[in-house]
C-alpha cells in the first residue's frame, strides 16, 4: 500500500452512490487502483459489487460521485469516447457471457472488428486471436461453439476475449464462481500469469477467500454500500473486528 502512495491511480472512484428505487446499493464508495496492482473487492451477495463494476465501464450510471480512468472522467463522457476508453478495459463477466451464436474464433474476433487499430503491435486478426487463445491454453478449441465447452473452458475463452485488445485494466466479476476447486485454482493461476504477461492492473470481485489470498495485493471489504475495511489479505484476515474476520471463514 505504501509503495503505491507516490503513484497515480489508473482508476479512481470517489463517493459513488447508486440507488434502485428505495434500495440504496452504493452509499459513497471509494476506490483507487494502481498500475500493476491486483485489488480484490469482497462483499456479501447483493452488496453492490457488480453494480460498482458496471458503473466503472459505463453500463450503469451512478447517481453521484466521480469515476476517473487515466485522468478521464467516465461519467461525463460521450458514447464515442466511452467506446474508445472501453478498449483499454477488459471485463470478465460472471457467467462468461460468450456470444452463443458464434464460434470461439468469432467471439474473439468480435472486439477487433472496430478497434484493431487501437491494439499495440497489431499484425493481423488471426495472429491476435491465436495469441490470446494460446495465453489461456485453448488454441485447440478455436472452431468450437461455446455450448461445446465446459464451464472452466468458457471462462478461459471469456478471459482471452477480454485480453484481445490488450487492455491496461481487467475487471474480473467473480471469476471462480460456479467452478470446481481444481478449475478455480487453474483460473486463478491463469489470472496471475496474464497479469505478469500483459502487465495489467486488475480489479477482482470475489467471494472466494482462496482466490483473494493468492491474487490480491490489496483488498477492500464492501459492506452496506461503503468501504468497510481496507488492507492486505493478512491484515484483514487477522483483524480484531468480528465482521471483517467473518469474511475469511471458509
Amino acid at each position: 500500500m505504501n509503495s503505491q502512495e507516490n503513484k497515480k491511480p489508473v482508476l479512481q472512484l470517489k463517493d459513488i452512490k447508486k440507488s434502485f428505487g428505495d434500495n440504496h446499493v452504493l452509499k459513497g464508495f471509494n476506490l483507487e487502483l494502481y498500475e500493476g496492482e491486483n485489488l480484490v473487492i469482497m462483499g456479501k451477495s447483493g452488496s453492490g459489487k457488480s453494480v460498482m463494476v458496471k458503473c466503472i465501464v459505463g453500463l450503469i450510471q451512478p447517481d453521484s460521485g466521480s469515476i476517473t480512468i487515466k485522468d478521464q472522467d467516465v461519467i461525463s463522457m460521450g458514447q464515442e469516447e466511452l467506446d474508445f476508453l472501453r478498449t483499454e478495459i477488459g471485463y470478465l463477466f460472471q457467467g462468461s457471457a460468450l456470444y452463443d451464436s458464434m464460434t470461439v474464433r468469432e467471439n474473439l474476433e468480435f472486439p477487433l472488428r472496430r478497434h484493431k487499430d487501437k491494439v499495440e503491435n497489431f499484425q493481423s486478426t488471426e495472429a491476435s486471436v491465436t495469441e490470446a487463445l494460446e495465453s489461456v491454453g485453448l488454441l485447440h478449441a478455436i472452431d468450437l461453439m461455446p455450448s461445446e465447452l465446459s464451464g472452466g473452458m468458457q471462462r478461459r475463452v471469456a478471459l482471452a476475449r477480454a485480453l484481445i485488445l490488450k487492455p491496461k485494466i481487467i475487471m474480473y466479476d467473480e471469476p471462480t464462481t460456479g467452478l470446481d476447486p481444481i478449475t478455480a485454482y487453474e483460473i486463478i493461476q491463469l489470472m496471475r500469469t496474464i497479469q505478469k504477461q500483459y502487465n495489467t492492473s486488475s480489479l477482482i470481485i470475489t467471494h472466494d477467500v482462496d482466490c483473494a489470498r493468492v491474487i490480491s495485493n490489496r483488498m477492500i471489504l464492501l459492506v452496506d454500500g461503503i468501504n468497510y475495511a481496507e488492507g492486505t489479505f493478512e491484515e484483514l484476515s487477522n483483524s480484531s473486528d468480528p465482521q471483517t474476520r467473518a469474511f475469511f471463514k471458509n
Partner: protein
C-alpha cells in the same frame, strides 16, 4: 378500491410501455442513418428472416389459395358467377388476405425468434459484453433485425401471394376446367396498380412492426428464463395485434387516396 387501483396501475403501465416503445422506435431512426453500418450482420439477418421462413410461407400460401378457392366455388356457382373466380380470389389475396396471413405467420415465426434470441442474450449478459467491447449493441442487434424484417417481409408476401394464386389456379383447373393461361390472364386483368401498390407498401409497415416489437421485448427482457419465455410470447401477441392495427390504418389511408 383495490380493483380501481389495479386498473389505474395497469393503464399507467400500458401507456408507459407505449411511451418506451415509441422512444425505442425513435432511437432506431436515429441510429439507422448513422455510421458504422453493420452491413454484414444485416445480410445475415436478411438470410435468417427470408430463407428460413421460405418453406413456411410457401406451404401457407399454397394452402390458403387452395382452401379459399374451394370454399368460394359453391357460393359463386349458386349465382352463376364462376367466371369471376380468378378476379375475386386474386383481389382478395393480393389486397388483404395474403399480406395479413403471411404477416401473422411471420409474427409468430420471426417475432418470437427475435424476442427469445435477444432475451436470452440479455439475461446471459451477452448484450452487456458487446457494449463493453466497444460495439453499439442497439445498432448491431436491434437496427439490423428491424431492417431485415422490414425489407424481407414484402418479398415473402409477394412470394406467398404468388403461391396462393398457383394453388387457386390448380383448384380451378381441376374443378372448373379453366386453363392456367386463362386463369392467369383473368387474374392479371383484374389486378390494378391501386390494388398492388398499397398492399405492398403496407407490408413494409407490417415488417417494421414485427421487427420493432420482437427486438423491444427481447432487449427489455426481465431477468431469468421466465423472462425470456415472456418476451418471446409477448413479441408474438403484440406483433400480431400491431399487424391488425397497421392493416386498419393502411386500408383507411388507401380508401382515401385510391378510391375514385
Amino acid at each position: 378500491m383495490n380493483k380501481s387501483n389495479t386498473i389505474l396501475a395497469r393503464t399507467k403501465s400500458f401507456f408507459a410501455e407505449i411511451g418506451d416503445m415509441t422512444y425505442f422506435a425513435g432511437r432506431f431512426f436515429r441510429e439507422v442513418f448513422s455510421r458504422p453500418f453493420e452491413v454484414r450482420e444485416l445480410m445475415r439477418q436478411c438470410y435468417n428472416v427470408g430463407n428460413r421462413s421460405l418453406l413456411l410461407v410457401i406451404v401457407t400460401g399454397f394452402i390458403l389459395g387452395l382452401v379459399f378457392t374451394l370454399q368460394s366455388r359453391p357460393t359463386l356457382m349458386q349465382f352463376g358467377a364462376e367466371s369471376w373466380m380468378a378476379s375475386m380470389v386474386s383481389l382478395s389475396i393480393v389486397r388483404e388476405i395474403g399480406p395479413v396471413i403471411i404477416a401473422l405467420i411471420c409474427a409468430g415465426r420471426i417475432g418470437s425468434g427475435i424476442g427469445a434470441e435477444l432475451g436470452s442474450m440479455k439475461v446471459t449478459e451477452q448484450i452487456d459484453a458487446m457494449e463493453v467491447s466497444g460495439t453499439n449493441p442497439f445498432k448491431y442487434l436491434v437496427v439490423t433485425r428491424i431492417l431485415a424484417v422490414t425489407l424481407m417481409l414484402p418479398l415473402l408476401v409477394i412470394l406467398g401471394d404468388a403461391v396462393a394464386l398457383v394453388g387457386s389456379a390448380i383448384v380451378e383447373n381441376l374443378k372448373g376446367d379453366v386453363s392456367f393461361t386463362l386463369y392467369f390472364n383473368q387474374t392479371f386483368d383484374a389486378l390494378k396498380f391501386s390494388d398492388v401498390f398499397p398492399a405492398t407498401v403496407k407490408t413494409f409497415f407490417f415488417g417494421f412492426a414485427i421487427g420493432l416489437v420482437g427486438t423491444y421485448k427481447g432487449y427489455h427482457c426481465a431477468k431469468g428464463t421466465v423472462g425470456v419465455g415472456e418476451a418471446s410470447n409477448a413479441a408474438v401477441v403484440y406483433a400480431s395485434m400491431l399487424v391488425f392495427v397497421v392493416d386498419f390504418i393502411a386500408v383507411f389511408v388507401t380508401d382515401i387516396f385510391f378510391t375514385v
